[in-house]
């Protein structure tokens, strides 16, 4: 059985963005943020009596009990902090899945990971704006998880970008939708193998 080299650099970067050294910090941060979100959800479920907030006093409780939060809870059928926890947990799960060459071997997984990380970062920023300007209160732990979301976007973008560039090079080399689809879902193709490590 032929074994591929799993440590190659992903053009245009001089490193492997799918390496464990790159992905494990993302997983650790996402798990930490999931833990914080679960803590906030426990308050929204009234399983704990209050929320620790070092800067804004009862601001966290005002945010978590606010009208927008209650409205969202009716729409999504669970506390918004619980949905946040699911989002962070999914980032950790998708961060762990796949080999250290997944940017080439499983582009669909990397793009799914990107679709998970990047919108969550945007939603976090929107929620921070809602906190400050609509509710008029701040929640330290919510701000912390929002900051983590943005760090996660920064840490994850290069792998997503490497996969997108690989798919673009494959398309330019073949102009064949079937080849692009095959490569996108993890199939091998000689043209894609030829362009994978090319520097653009």
């Amino acid at each position: 059985m032929n074994v591929a080299d799993l440590t190659v650099h992903a053009p245009p970067f001089n490193r492997n963005p799918s390496a464990w050294s790159q992905r494990l910090p993302i997983v650790a941060l996402a798990l930490f943020a999931a833990g914080v979100s679960i803590y906030l959800a426990l308050y929204q479920w009234r399983l704990i009596g209050g929320v620790w907030d070092p800067f804004f006093g009862d601001g966290s409780e005002k945010v978590l009990d606010s009208h927008p939060s209650e409205q969202m809870r009716r729409w999504i059928r669970m506390p918004d902090a619980a949905l946040g926890a699911i989002g962070y947990l999914s980032e950790a799960i998708f961060g762990l899945a796949g080999s250290t060459r997944r940017w080439q071997y499983r582009p669909w997984l990397v793009l799914l990971f990107g679709l998970d990380v990047i919108p969550l970062g945007v939603v976090s920023v929107v929620l921070v704006v809602v906190q400050g300007f609509v509710i008029g209160a701040w929640c330290s732990l919510c701000l912390l998880t929002a900051a983590i979301s943005l760090v996660l976007v920064f840490l994850a973008y290069d792998e997503v970008w490497a996969s997108i560039l690989f798919l673009r090079r494959t398309w330019r080399a073949t102009h064949d939708w079937r080849v692009l689809w095959t490569v996108f879902r993890g199939g091998a193709h000689p043209a894609a193998a030829a362009v994978a490590l090319e520097r653009s």
């Binding site: 074994v3 669970m78 899945a97 080999s99 060459r101 193998a193």
Partner: protein, 112 residues
């Protein structure tokens, strides 16, 4: 195969959670039925012949996650547990069993 193990553990939680949370007969039936199906699909995926059975887990998990939306809010604790567990199982069920290995075709191509 770690995602299959996680799915099976979560399915077990879904199976027994009606005994922990406040029991509601209609939701309990759905939770236990879905749990048995998802557990079976996850375990079946270990057999080479049924390695795509995890897609059954994904389908059942997504259908189960839709169930709470058939009822007006607020959902009961058991219903929320059903929704959250189903969503987490669905995330694991997206990952194929051989995700950690390099696809065979790529290795062969690169050695030609």
């Amino acid at each position: 195969m770690w995602p299959r193990v996680c799915e099976a553990i979560l399915a077990m939680w879904l199976l027994f959670s009606p005994s922990v949370l406040v029991d509601e007969p209609s939701v309990t039936r759905i939770a236990r039925g879905a749990a048995v199906l998802m557990f079976a699909f996850s375990v079946l995926s270990f057999a080479k012949r049924f390695r795509r059975a995890y897609l059954g887990t994904l389908a059942v998990a997504l259908a189960t996650a839709c169930y709470p939306f058939l009822y007006p809010p607020p959902p009961s604790p058991l219903m929320q547990n059903l929704l959250i567990t189903a969503l987490v199982i669905a995330m694991f069920a997206i990952i194929p069993p051989d995700a950690m290995r390099s696809p065979r075709g790529w290795g062969e191509l690169e050695h030609e």
